[in-house]
Symmetry: C2
Subunit: 250 residues, 2 copies
């Protein structure tokens, strides 16, 4: 299953989700590919320490038959990566003028389809050509949403964009509530109201605010290499279970 | 003074800072212009409720003599706004092919220079053509930084970009620590170490994590219209004082 982890809003937990879901699936024996589609390369730093010869730019721009050359194993068993570098910004600009510019990631992933049980795509905080590529490639569009400002407004424009890109009315998306702070009851109540119309798309699993998750990110490690018994590790395990049982389309 | 509020990292408090600093300066009688440079238009929603005839796209793309036509008063005394809309994404793409594409915002602001004591530019979470325009236009580059992942890595590439764009070694930037949570002592300690080499650029004022600030954002209001006696309001007042006394270049 190809999962695009996307939300144009910044800092809502896309990278934390992509990094830790990849590890969670890997822990269950599923061969997993993490595709870093963000020029800021934050998920890359959790799995890859050197300068890659080839990277996401080559993965997208080369012929699909060459895509595998930009895939690297990592130290984390069952996780491979297509690493990002800052030259991805430039590639995104070049991509804007290319034929089939919104489908290139999809074609590269199709070429690798049989090798991976799970593919996780970490998207940048923007609704642009990179995110369009992820939306087109995805079997499931996973939208981390923080109980906070603009959560729903951004969501609706994301869904409209996905409908247009994929030419389908019923886009396969799910909402993941992230960074839930049980203390902020007033904010959470407002958020509950705002999210009501998307209720059946909201996953049962909620990722709670967890300092261990934040520190694991600072240490550039998946939560399972940092604090296996933390709330954050439990939450991503539960999410992994729920997604594994998911049957899409809705 | 023209202040660009920028950081490619998502969710670090750029919008919260632009919105509340604008109000803080306005409260002190300074005529202030808020320029929303983010296609997600989050700072616009705190000051502007209708569909503007002209917006930031016109402000950037038209001749400088026409720039004033995209400026609107708001209900907040002393705050005017150049509102953003989602068509700014498209404009950013068109802008990539235009002459002097990195200087257009600067030229539009020069045309309005005498009318405003303060100009605050809210930037999107990316290091691209829109942020380049803000960096070029700025007297001060204000970088909100959250004690968290990637804080310093992103900072260094931002400074390098600014040096190249402005052709100066000594870029006028300051770091604003945001969303400081006094409970997360371990994270804060790590962050202290990481930020050490930028020590003299870090502002004395720190913005603490404050639920009132988050709720004010949810309610689409500046903190002063929402909870005047909150910690968040105090912090942005203190920041306003510190910036008003700032003498740049360093
Ligand atoms: N459940 C959580 N509990 C505590 N902190 C978290 C949690 N999830 C993420 N964070 C922290 O919040 C910040 C933003 O998270 P993250 O980088 O994953 O978001 P993002 O959506 O990928 O951001 P961007 O839009 O910049 O790509 C990081 O500092 C991260 O460590
Ligand atoms: N000091 C604070 N205390 C508590 N919450 C805050 C604070 N500052 C910002 N927030 C909240 O954190 C989230 C991110 O803040 P904000 O939108 O200002 O960041 P941003 O850098 O503009 O994000 P983006 O990169 O998406 O433009 C919002 O939900 C906001 O309400
Ligand atoms: Mg990210
Ligand atoms: Mg913002």
């Amino acid at each position: 299953m190809i999962i695009a982890v996307t939300n144009a809003k910044g800092g809502v937990g896309k990278t934390t989700t992509a990094v830790n879901l990849a590890a969670a699936f890997a822990n269950r024996g599923k061969k997993t590919l993490l595709v870093d589609l963000d020029p800021q390369a934050h998920s890359t730093r959790c799995y890859f320490r050197s300068d890659p010869d080839r990277d996401i730019c080559d993965f997208i721009m080369d012929r699909p038959s060459q895509a595998h050359r930009a895939v690297y194993p990592t130290d984390y068993s069952n996780v491979d990566i297509v690493p990002a570098t800052e030259r991805l910004s430039e590639t995104a600009e070049l991509l804007s003028t290319r034929i089939r510019r919104e489908e290139r990631l999809h074609r590269a992933l199709v070429a690798l389809a049989d090798e991976y049980k799970m593919v996780l795509i970490d998207c940048p905080p923007s609704l642009g050509i990179l995110t369009y590529n992820a939306i087109n490639a995805a079997d499931l569009i996973l939208v981390p949403v923080q109980p906070a400002v603009g959560a729903v407004v951004g969501l609706e424009s994301l869904i409209e964009t996905a409908q247009e890109l994929r030419d389908e009315d019923n886009v396969p998306y799910r909402i993941l509530v992230t960074m839930l702070d049980l203390r902020t009851t007033y904010t959470n109540a407002i958020f509950e109201q705002l999210i009501e119309e998307h209720r059946r798309r909201v996953l049962k699993t909620v990722i709670h605010k967890s300092e261990a998750l934040n520190q694991a990110n600072l240490a550039a490690k998946p939560i399972y290499s940092f604090s296996r018994s933390s709330r954050g590790a439990e939450d991503y395990d539960a999410l992994c279970e729920e997604l594994a049982r998911l049957r899409i389309p809705t």
